[in-house]
């Protein structure tokens, strides 16, 4: 490409516009990643104070390994994320395949319906589920209610991601396979699944990342003995700052970023 369009069109004013956009972008990316950098840097600080640099040290990471409370919270978080993701992946994938077969208004309506849990503010969903579990279902709050609650919004995300992948699926491929004598089952296993698989895996990874980080809903529907890492971090922040949080937060952040990046990479895999 030659000179950017704005320059050619508007001369020095166009360059000014592009400069402004560039400065804004630099500031925004700085703004977005400043806390990330702060967390990571201070997690290696030797100082007891979370905001004072005290030389390089990995002591906070070492201490994490001895913290039984955190380790048990980590276990809960992982069990919760895996269970909710399994549920959500099955339900969301089936729903996406089903939605694809619908036509017209009904399809639009149900697509919105399956996406609604993402749009409803998390606090509203949280209190709704709390009241439902306590007053109607009369379930003991704990890991079970956490899994159900997480599966609700994770299903919505998986259905959306798989649905997006299916949108790029050419129906004529299905017809071509049928035309060449494949059965419906063969069409599913040999044509559809291999092509939609990145969407399913991407949806599952996204669901995993979201569940690992979810706080508000967990905070409301959790019960004794089922403390997740975000809840533990919240109470640590509330109780008073210890540098261990920096280390823990860094690890969690890395896990989320890795999962989210993987999810995005897999979703875009030979999608054209």
């Amino acid at each position: 490409m030659n000179a950017p369009a704005e320059d050619r069109l508007f001369g020095w004013k166009g360059r000014g516009l592009r400069l402004g956009l560039g400065v804004n972008a630099a500031l925004v990316y700085g703004f977005l990643y400043l806390p990330v950098v702060v967390l990571m840097v201070f997690s290696f600080s030797g100082s007891r104070y979370a905001t004072v640099w005290g030389g390089f040290s990995v002591q906070w990471y070492v201490r994490l390994l001895d913290n039984q409370v955190l380790l048990s919270a980590l276990r809960t978080t992982l069990v919760l994320a895996v269970c909710a993701t399994l549920l959500a992946t099955v339900l969301g994938t089936m729903a996406a395949f089903g939605l694809r077969r619908l036509r017209g208004r009904l399809r639009g309506l149900l697509e919105t319906w399956f996406f609604l849990p993402v749009l409803v503010p998390d606090l509203v969903l949280a209190i709704a589920l709390l009241m439902f579990f306590v007053l109607v279902a009369q379930l003991q709050l704990g890991l079970g209610t956490l899994i159900i609650a997480h599966s609700v919004f994770c299903t919505a995300y998986v259905a959306a991601v798989v649905g997006a992948r299916l949108k790029g699926f050419d129906d004529r491929l299905e017809e071509a396979a049928l035309d060449l004598g494949a059965t419906r089952w063969q069409v599913f296993t040999r044509i559809k699944l291999p092509l939609v698989w990145p969407g399913i895996l991407g949806g599952a990874l996204l669901s995993l990342a979201l569940s690992l980080d979810e706080f508000v809903i967990s905070f409301f529907v959790t019960g004794p003995g089922a403390t997740t890492l975000p809840i533990e971090i919240y109470s640590m922040v509330k109780r008073g700052v210890t540098p261990e949080i920096n280390a823990l937060a860094t690890l969690m952040l890395l896990a989320s970023i890795v999962l989210a990046t993987l999810s995005i990479l897999i979703q875009s895999k030979n999608s054209s």
Binding site: A176, L180, G181, A182
Partner: protein, 358 residues
């Protein structure tokens, strides 16, 4: 002999619209048969009906004399080459071509032999390991053909398969397709809106319009002896004149149109005073300052436009009654009139034909 494909009174309604109405077709074994018509004429739906992706509301479709039977219709020995090829993007060329054979559970060794043979036939040796996205348009086209041909079907259906290629490649592929069909002897049913393509490749053509088949015939029949106004207009270029029929002498009838009389040869009809349409192709019109005798039709006129088309020139002549006729004049002929020139335009009675309104 049993026809390869036979349609009797086939009708289909899609989305509340009758897209195919009362279609009768009989396609012979080993024939290159084209369904030709503008978009929305029902040709693709007819193809999908033959392929079995749609079921007819009325009428019947028989492949080699057999109805759909108990197997799903799309599993019949008819393979489709899709408009955009519909190659499986996650499979190599080899896997795409082998797919149909694997579905038939043929032995491995046989699959290998057949795939190799067909890839050689469509000149794709050496590309077995490529994925569709790594191929050019023409190569993808050949993979689609190979995939449809390899299971040795009774009929191969092709849905505008050359539409995505550029003009030069399209011309080459036309020749290649035709040669391939000759060599394999498989019946091809070819859907296209491109009349040149249909004329160049087909053994026979069915011209479709608004869900109906208007005329079936060889390319020559379709071009030289169109039966309806639409066929005459859609295939090639033509001059159309509306008028009333008047009996004439010597096996010639006359058509009176806006005060001028046109002689038409050979037409059997002479029942008087009938509203008719007359067609005459531009290449049959002669233009000159003074025309020699011997032409039954000869009119004085004025050149209104003259367009250069490389190998020829299209001369537009306005004659007495205000009608503008187009004449195709090969380049290199000595006398080329300019706009504004007074000329004569003429044609033999035998070159004109009467066609019915649609």
């Amino acid at each position: 002999m049993v026809p390869a494909v036979e349609l009797t009174g086939v009708g289909k309604e899609l989305g509340g619209q009758k897209v195919v109405r009362g279609v009768d077709l009989s396609i012979r074994e080993g024939e290159f048969f084209s369904l030709l018509g503008p978009s929305g004429c029902g040709k693709t739906t007819t193809l999908r009906l033959i392929a079995g992706f749609e079921t007819p509301d009325e009428g019947a479709i028989r492949i080699r004399g057999r109805g759909p039977g108990r197997r799903p219709a799309f599993a019949r020995e008819v393979n489709l080459v899709f408009q955009n090829y519909a190659l499986f993007p996650h499979m190599t060329v080899w896997a795409n071509v082998a797919f149909g054979l694997e579905m038939e559970r043929r032995p491995k060794e046989e699959i290998r032999r057949e795939v190799e043979a067909i890839l050689a036939l469509v000149r794709l040796e050496g590309l077995e390991g490529r994925y569709p996205r790594q191929l050019s348009g023409g190569q993808q086209q050949r993979v689609a053909l190979a995939r449809a041909l390899v299971t040795d079907p009774a009929v191969v259906l092709l849905d505008e398969p050359l539409g995505a290629l550029d003009l030069k490649l399209r011309k080459d592929m036309q020749i290649e397709l035709k040669a391939l069909q000759r060599r394999t002897g498989v019946t091809f049913i070819y859907v296209t809106h491109d009349q040149e393509e249909a004329l160049a490749m087909s053994d026979r053509i069915a011209v479709m319009h608004e869900g109906r088949v208007l005329q079936v015939g060889t390319p020559e029949e379709i071009y030289e002896r169109p039966q309806t106004r639409f066929v005459a207009h859609f295939i090639g270029e033509t001059n159309l004149l509306e008028g009333r029929l008047r009996p004439g002498g010597n096996g010639v009838v006359e058509v009176e149109s806006d005060g001028l009389a046109f002689a038409v040869g050979g037409g059997g009809r002479s029942s008087g005073d009938e509203q008719v349409i007359l067609t005459v192709r531009p290449e049959h019109l002669v233009v000159g300052r003074r025309l020699n005798g011997g032409l039954e039709n000869r009119f004085a006129g004025e050149v209104v436009a003259s367009a250069y088309h490389g190998s020829e020139r299209m001369v537009h002549v306005r004659i007495g009654n205000g009608v503008v006729l187009r004449s195709r004049v090969p380049n290199g002929s000595a006398e080329l009139p300019d706009p504004g020139d007074a000329v004569e335009v003429g044609w033999p009675a035998a070159a004109a034909r009467l066609v019915s309104p649609d």
